[in-house]
């Protein structure tokens, strides 16, 4: 029989999620943003594509995909709505990763598998009022009390908190150990003593709900510590390159959206009886946006490729995230300049890109800390 090469999985995933974004997300993106609520209907629609299961092996209900494919998917989603891409990324990666790696069989059956099917919402709680970039400053304590852990403290800026069914929470078990005393714990929403604040009013990604968590004598079983004692930060470091590369992919998606709008408007809008795209200063903006997006693309997918080959990619992922998120911010800024006063109107999407891009500067490490890390990786510190 004649053999014909098949398309690659990456091509198929890009095409599928590009169509999903064009047909399902973009027509609803403004409505979701204006509603400012977690769009559970969209969460469920995405679940039907098997997206949340992408990174996990077949044996636990996953699809067996890799980091490159995951990044392609979230990039396409982010082109339509950063909010949708953000809660998808949370469900696929941070919210479920530690449960998969270190959860018990019971955790997998009751929580992980339903989460991969989109029947439960996952969340990840790292940040505290005084512990963000400086994780060692975490004050939320987990104290062993017989055959339970007793959790007290609070977390802030927790994506999906108002709607999540379970949380992976970073807690300190031994203050004297600093970073080595940090561990991850699984806390289910219905656990007595867990309180979720009202959602934050925020500038962008308005369809992703974010809130604070408070723990007051929250009692959880011993097996809810996810990972070996003292391995919390080490285990986090193991997926940090994936988190940063994924955030870079989100950035490319948003930058592309701003770029496509800018191109279209440059060819439509006339001033002085000419399309504004015929003016060299507009062309310069278009050229710079295109060039930076191309650069961000090469860096991001090179880092993803390294991760898929099992290589250490912390420096490359940090560079990709730093460059891509700054690219998204510059592209959104330039888009507002090309649109002029219309970018100031809530009727045009560029204002949403301009608000949403700020989200990319914090998640996965600020540009400032990433520059510190890159310099350190280069031996200058």
């Amino acid at each position: 029989m004649t053999r014909i090469p098949r398309p690659t999985a990456e091509e198929m995933i890009r095409k599928t999620f590009a169509r999903f974004t064009d047909d399902e997300i973009i027509p609803k993106a403004r409505e979701m943003d204006e509603a400012g609520k977690f769009p559970r209907w969209m969460f469920e629609k995405i679940a039907k594509t098997g997206a949340y299961a992408m990174r996990y092996p077949r044996k636990i209900g996953g699809a067996g995909g890799n980091t490159t494919q995951f990044c392609i998917m979230v990039e396409e989603l982010a082109r339509g709505s950063m909010s949708v891409a953000a809660f998808t990324a949370m469900q696929c990666l941070m919210g479920t990763n530690f449960l998969y790696q270190y959860g018990t069989k019971d955790h997998h059956e009751r929580l992980l598998k339903p989460a991969l099917r989109g029947e439960k919402v996952a969340s990840f709680a790292l940040t505290e009022a005084d512990a963000a970039t400086d994780l060692g400053g975490a004050k939320t304590m987990a104290v062993r009390d017989g055959d339970h852990w007793l959790i007290n403290g609070s977390k802030t800026w927790i994506t999906n908190a108002p709607v999540a069914d379970f949380f992976t929470v970073l807690c300190q078990t031994d203050k004297t150990q600093g970073l080595k005393g940090l561990n991850f714990f699984l806390i289910e929403r219905e656990t007595p003593g867990l309180y979720v604040s009202k959602k934050f009013e925020k500038l962008g990604t308005r369809a992703t709900e974010i809130a604070e968590l408070a723990f007051s004598d929250v009692r959880i079983p011993l097996e809810n510590r996810l990972g070996q004692d003292g391995q919390g930060v080490g285990n986090l470091m193991r997926i940090l390159a994936v988190i940063r590369t994924m955030t870079a992919a989100l950035s490319i998606g948003l930058a592309r959206a701003a770029f496509e709008c800018s191109k279209r408007y440059s060819l439509e809008r006339t001033q002085f009886k000419k399309r504004i795209g015929s003016f060299q200063l507009i062309q310069q903006k278009i050229a710079n946006m295109a060039t930076e997006i191309w650069g961000a693309n090469l860096m991001t997918y090179k880092a993803a490729e390294m991760i898929d080959r099992g290589e250490r990619a912390l420096k490359e992922a940090s560079m990709a995230k730093y460059f891509a998120s700054e690219t998204a911010c510059r592209a959104s800024d330039e888009a507002t300049r090309i649109y002029g006063a219309y970018s100031y109107s809530m009727e045009y999407d560029v204002q949403r890109f301009y608000r949403d891009c700020r989200f990319l500067l914090f998640g996965g490490g600020t540009s400032e800390i990433l520059q510190t890390i890159i310099s350190r990786e280069e031996g200058v510190y």
Binding site: R3, R6, T16
Partner: protein, 265 residues
């Protein structure tokens, strides 16, 4: 139960451009997609599979790259794909295409129902489904907006110009589907990853494999020959008629008379 779905890869014609010199579609930079109504036909078959013990085969005729839509069909949930590809199939009109597809369906073995989109958005002929039904000597229901299977028969709502017909016919039969029939599912990530593996069954057949001679298919087997394709010259002219209503009415009638437009008996 065996279901066969006909799918076609077409250029995404939402932003179509025609080369003014050659009259051909400019394919550069144009992505290929599965014909939209074929996606609804496949969804109908997969819905039947969800409820009955059915096997769904997707068949397409096209150049080698049409394997993409076969993979997409598998990623949506089909069990097997068949791609008819051969230089001998090139340039086929609907007659030659139906001949090739009809022979392929015969070779693939017994079936209960064939589903196809009403028409492909590149050619817009709506002839392939009906011609295949005639070729195979089975009943057909075209332009279907609702579909039920029971006791060896299919009952369908068929949309016509001024309403809807409800038609019942015994299986095996062929139906052509409208977009209003259902909302197609998206391929799932897991099935996408499977569809590109060599272990997922896709059969590649040429003219010899389906037992047809080169002169029966493709351009040689076509009953119609395209002499020329061209883009009609654009530019509309607006003529304003002024005066009394009577003057304007007379002007309109004269306009038709001058252009020898018959106004009815």
């Amino acid at each position: 139960m065996k279901l066969v779905v006909l799918i076609k890869q077409i250029p995404n014609t939402s932003n179509v451009r025609i080369d003014p010199k050659t009259g051909n579609l400019v394919r550069e930079g144009v992505t290929s997609i599965m014909n939209p109504e074929d996606r609804h036909a496949l969804e109908a078959a997969l819905s039947i599979k969800d409820h009955f013990n059915a096997v769904v085969d997707v068949i397409s005729m096209g150049p080698p790259q049409a394997i993409e839509v076969i993979c997409e069909g598998l990623a949506m949930g089909a069990d097997k794909g068949i791609l008819l590809t051969d230089r001998a199939f090139a340039g086929a009109d609907t007659w030659a295409t139906s001949t090739a597809l009809g022979n392929a369906i015969r070779k693939n073995g017994p079936f209960d129902l064939i589903l196809a989109g009403r028409q492909a958005i590149d050619g817009d002929t709506a002839q392939i489904g009906p011609q295949i039904a005639e070729f195979l000597g089975i009943p057909q229901i075209t332009c279907v907006s609702a579909l039920e299977l029971s006791d060896g028969k299919v009952v369908a709502n068929r949309i016509i110009e001024n309403g809807c017909e409800r038609i019942e016919t015994p299986l095996p039969a062929l139906v052509t589907c409208l977009a209003s029939l259902n909302e197609p599912r998206y391929p799932t990530v897991g099935r996408i990853l499977d569809s590109v593996l060599e272990s997922t069954p896709i059969e590649i057949w040429n003219a010899a494999d389906i037992g047809v001679k080169a002169q029966e298919v493709g351009l040689a087997g076509s009953l119609t020959q395209v002499l020329k394709t061209f883009t009609p010259k654009g530019g509309r002219e607006t003529q304003y008629l002024e005066g009394t209503p009577s003057d304007i009415a007379s002007g309109i009638v004269q306009f038709f008379v001058d252009r020898q437009v018959r106004l009815g008996e």
